[in-house]
């Protein structure tokens, strides 16, 4: 148990040290059920912020992963913790689709 804590602590420390200097907020909009831009590139530690211009709530959902709820006429955000390419969609309106390319 004790041994497994070390890499976790190391990762945490690294994240704390590494992210403030580089982190950016990437702004996306949702208008008439369209994520725009549909595809964005980001880095681990960046924040994705969606501004929902519609009168209905949406989500940004990664199957088997995270989910952000974005209320109508409001914002939702997530700080990216993992590198990789992810497809996301709106759980309420699965015809809405977006894509993130997250580099380390």
């Amino acid at each position: 148990m004790r041994a497994s804590l070390l890499p976790l602590l190391a990762a945490l420390t690294l994240a704390l040290v590494a992210s403030p200097a580089l982190a950016a907020t990437i702004e996306l909009t949702i208008d008439k059920l369209v994520f725009s831009p549909a595809s964005v590139e980001a880095k681990v530690g960046d924040t994705i912020e969606w501004t929902n211009k519609d009168v209905i709530a949406h989500t940004a959902t990664v199957k088997g992963g995270w989910e952000v709820t974005i209320p109508p006429k409001s914002k939702g955000r997530i700080t990216l913790k993992q590198a990789g390419a992810v497809d996301y969609f709106c759980r309420f309106h699965p015809n809405m689709k977006g894509h993130l390319e997250v580099s380390p």
């Binding site: 209905i56 759980r91 015809n95």
Partner: protein, 174 residues
């Protein structure tokens, strides 16, 4: 399920979408507003019944999503007709839809448990399909006001989303 409203919409569709349809068969903006609002209200009523009756989380959550979205869209429709000073006009299609939906709700009300869940969700798939098809082929092309047209176009995307959402829930119930 919802066979009657489906038939009513289909009949309406056929009448209006025929290649040489007379101008009189095309719904007017006040009629379109009324039909769209009525279609929304029908789904809200069905959702309320499901929220009351179902014991399945996925089904209740879905119904709450339907209630919330359709209420928001209907509110926007009311705001728009007020702004445009249009009075929604009752018509045969709205009446047929409302009557058939009332009968369908009575049928659903008699079902319980898994049978209710299945019937409600299958209904939702079929109903949204029909409404989407009516919007796409008749209501949107017939709308003359650009703001009304744009609201219907956004509505279509929302309801296409609902159709897929309902299909996901139907798949999860199996």
């Amino acid at each position: 399920m919802f066979i009657r409203p489906t038939a009513a919409l289909a009949a309406f569709l056929l009448a209006g979408a025929a290649p040489y349809a007379r101008a009189a068969e095309k719904p007017t903006d006040p009629q379109i507003a009324h039909i769209a609002y009525t279609a929304g209200t029908i789904d809200i009523e069905a959702a309320k019944l499901a929220i009351k009756k179902s014991r399945t989380k996925e089904v209740v959550d879905f119904a709450k999503d339907m209630e919330r979205d359709h209420e928001a869209v209907n509110k926007q429709a009311l705001d728009l007709v007020k702004k445009l000073k249009v009075t929604p006009e009752d018509n045969a299609t709205s009446q047929a839809l409302a009557k058939a939906a009332k009968e369908e709700r009575a049928k659903l009300a008699k079902l319980k448990g898994a049978a209710f869940d299945k019937a409600y969700i299958e209904n939702e798939v079929a109903y949204h399909k029909q409404v989407d098809s009516a919007l796409e082929t008749l209501l949107i092309p017939s709308a003359s006001n650009t703001e009304l047209k744009s609201l219907l176009e956004t509505g279509l995307k929302i309801f296409q989303g609902h159709e897929q959402h309902a299909e996901h829930v139907a798949g999860a119930l199996k």
